[in-house]
Assembly symmetry: C2
Homo-oligomer: 494 residues x 2
């Protein structure tokens, strides 16, 4: 029988800290000797009447101190010894502080029966397996395979670089003063830019809300992020102008097409105005265009880089969303001086990107297989988007708002007050549906009712079922709070 934990819900100490501290004390005192089994998080949460995530957080802390191990949440065992700790290094003081935000593992590894709206990724059911295998075989049987397997160049696998440059020139997305670097996905391009442009203490303007990969990157580097309000037509240029004047950011990271998480897209006129504003303010423009190729309806709008006539804008693109996320190949196009420094930083980061995937994706693209896969993806995406939007219309409680993107992978929902998407997540997960709540995305404006629905990875049936379950949970909770509210005494007029 597991000893009873003494938790004080009135205490100022967070609940997970109390659980952690008490278990740690028991391990130190021998009350929980090495080898003893801890209850599953669900079980202990039930015993204590606490949220399961509270217990998980406490277990993670114990694990990070090397005190427990095993499959957290299923059965964890005491493996460490608190007394022995001081003989080793004190990693808590040696390491940089941990960051908030979902881990990729959290957003991708839901139980298989769970309907997960948590990851912005394509569906593996749509992967064109034969086209992939053919591309792969052409590479491994081709004459270049020895050089592909040999040490490569930090700028990228030369034939892929040449192909991407030719494509960019053809689309007017590269000027005479520009160069191109292949990166391990868009995330690495952002990281390299952060390293060469942003110093600790600098200010960077980012969209608000924005996906955690952007938000956390700059905090990690010790920079200050300022969130620019984003609406259905992309960032609010009045808000941006105020920020340019007041905060004097060094750079702006922006996703004009199907922004993650909102799906918002900037109209042509806003893009032109933004370019003028950024130029006048001397702000570095980093254009993240990972979703631009996934427009399901409406007409494409030129990118900032295209409108910029090949000047200072830095354009980031990637094969991850339109082909295979597991192959990490993206690229950046920008002024030669910028790309030259990115190449230096790239060499220090990881020497160069994996060449097998670069070569396979080159074959996949230049053979036309990528484009025919993209056409199928667009068709499927249009249907999924339509399904998701009508399910939101039908099932979300009155007072909910949601964006209506014309492409990409994400819809942003705002639940009516006083609903809190973060608090309701546990209940949704219990009913087999998961999503990422607003707190992972908001920068300067807390948005407890916000949540992201990433629909592209799911079938239409799952999208429908998932949103109907969520709608049910949200509506029930709204009715409960409404009736609880109506019984509250009216506030005094002061």
């Amino acid at each position: 029988m597991f000893p009873v934990l003494d938790i004080d819900s009135q205490s100022e100490a967070p609940l997970y800290r109390q659980v952690f501290q008490q278990l740690r004390d028991w391990i130190a005192s021998g009350k929980l000797p090495k080898g003893s089994r801890l209850p599953a998080t669900r079980e202990l949460a039930g015993l204590l009447g606490l949220n399961r995530t509270t217990i998980s957080a406490a277990y993670e802390l114990l694990e990070s101190e090397g005190l427990i191990a095993g499959q957290v949440g299923r059965g964890s065992f005491v493996i460490g010894d608190v007394d022995r700790q001081p003989q080793g290094l004190d990693w808590r003081t040696l390491l940089a502080p941990s960051l908030p935000g979902p881990t990729l593992a959290q957003s991708t590894t839901a139980a298989s029966e769970t309907i997960s709206f948590a990851a912005s990724r394509p569906s593996e059911l749509l992967f064109p397996m034969e086209a992939f295998r053919t591309s792969c075989e052409e590479v491994i049987r081709g004459g270049e395979i020895s050089s592909i397997l040999q040490l490569g160049s930090p700028g990228g696998y030369a034939p892929l670089r040449q192909y991407l440059i030719a494509e960019a020139l053809r689309h007017g997305a590269m000027g005479p003063g520009d160069d191109l670097i292949v990166t391990s996905g868009c995330q690495q391009a952002l990281d390299l830019l952060q390293r060469i442009i942003v110093k600790a203490g600098d200010t960077v303007a980012i969209e608000d809300p924005v996906y955690p990969g952007v938000k956390n990157l700059f905090s990690f580097a010790g920079a200050r992020s300022v969130g620019v309000r984003i609406g259905p037509d992309g960032i609010d240029l009045d808000d941006l102008q105020r920020i340019f004047e007041k905060d004097r950011p060094k750079a702006l990271v922006i996703t004009p097409n199907f922004q993650n998480p909102t799906g918002a897209t900037m109209p042509l006129q806003s893009r032109q105005n933004l370019l003028r504003m950024a130029r006048a303010a001397g702000v570095v423009l980093i254009e993240n265009d990972t979703y631009g190729d996934l427009r399901y309806e409406g007409s494409p709008i030129p990118s900032l880089k295209q409108l910029d006539g090949g000047a200072d804008t830095i354009l980031l693109r990637s094969y991850s969303k339109v082909a295979f996320p597991g192959l990490r190949v993206g690229w950046a196009i920008g002024p030669r001086a910028v790309i030259a420094r990115m190449v230096e930083a790239k060499q220090l980061s990881d020497l160069h990107s994996d060449q097998l995937s670069q070569a396979v994706l080159l074959r996949f693209a230049e053979s036309g297989r990528l484009e025919s896969h993209r056409q199928k993806t667009l068709k499927a995406g249009a249907e999924k988007l339509k399904t998701a939007l009508s399910a939101c219309e039908r099932w979300l409680p009155a007072g909910s708002a949601f964006t209506r993107p014309q492409g990409g992978m994400n819809i942003w929902v705002r639940l009516p007050e006083p609903l809190d998407a973060g608090e309701l997540l546990t209940r949704a997960q219990r009913e087999g549906v998961t999503y990422l709540p607003g707190r992972y995305f908001t920068v300067s404006r807390p948005d407890p009712g916000g949540l992201r629905l990433s629909f592209a990875g799911l079938t239409r049936e799952k999208i429908q079922t998932g949103i109907s379950i969520l709608g049910g949970i949200f509506s029930t909770e709204l009715e409960r709070t409404d009736s609880a509210r109506s019984m509250e005494p009216a506030p005094a007029m002061v």
Copy 2:
């Protein structure tokens, strides 16, 4: 006819700066209008009586400002316009300063007829192509391929992680408090550690000499590097003790097996002493063991991590040197708290490593193909090493010293005074041989006579020819300086 440049060899301004400035002025004034062709570096160097590298450096600066483009050294053209520059961003002030050191491109892309000792990499002639193709085909026809192509986990592809963990446990290289992260090669593991452990202003102890990937990484992060003297038996522990006391470094990065560039290997006793010293000083030990599997003679010595009984040492390993450098797969083993932070930093760096290569290398390893390839590599490596050492013995001028490693890919040569390996490089390249001179490796102790011979990528014939050519150049230069010296007036006795 190209206008005559006016270079002042007495000026304090470096020659390349003078060349750069004058060409830039001509572009600004229209004396060199857009579209005009610059002479090849070799040609202009000849005209001005300057070194070709001086001209290259000037051209690179012009290129980085977007003023010229083309195949530098063959024919570069004016493409930019100095007057237009101020309208755009001033990238010189916006970007972090550039770092010294060879680029990977420099060390890997010598003309094909050049004998290059410049890259520490295996020979592609030894790549086991059929074993690679079979592994690749098993992966692309296997049942896991959809999940391999889908978004993965920042900790690594789970089946590869499990395999590596099982191997590490089997070899006693992992303790109960340890965890493992897959990285994009060893370089990324170092980079992630730098990010979570080293703050700007911190001091890090590194070997002196050490390869540029370590040396530049910490300067880039704003840390101070202190070089620990390294001899044939690895780092000098007395020097290290002084550094521990005086500089109080936060971490020590060390390669106990076949260090790059010296090939030095620490004996068992030194490893044990080092562990005790690091523990007493509270210094984080980062053990880079990329070459440990490439021992051609003598008995293996346990790694620091193995000797450490699974405590605080962080061990870095990689498939790059023993299999295919173009597939970027390495891993780090260390205390759970460290690996957890590395996983966070990894997610911000590039989400996760490429999964196709992770899966292919897993098949390559677990099928036994890696081990049989390694056996062949060891046999070939032993012969190459022997050839390289006897060629050094035979051809290097009297007074030269060189290390005699028992494995790895590198020999460190020190030429007799007053020879400068950096100055002699141009001559060597003219005669069709290249290497990296000491300045790319030294940390606190300039070593103008030092140079690295990376022999593993070459055939025995090329090793022999290359070292005999180098020996000829070095001997001729030594005779010349000796006779020049003997003609100098004797210095006054003061």
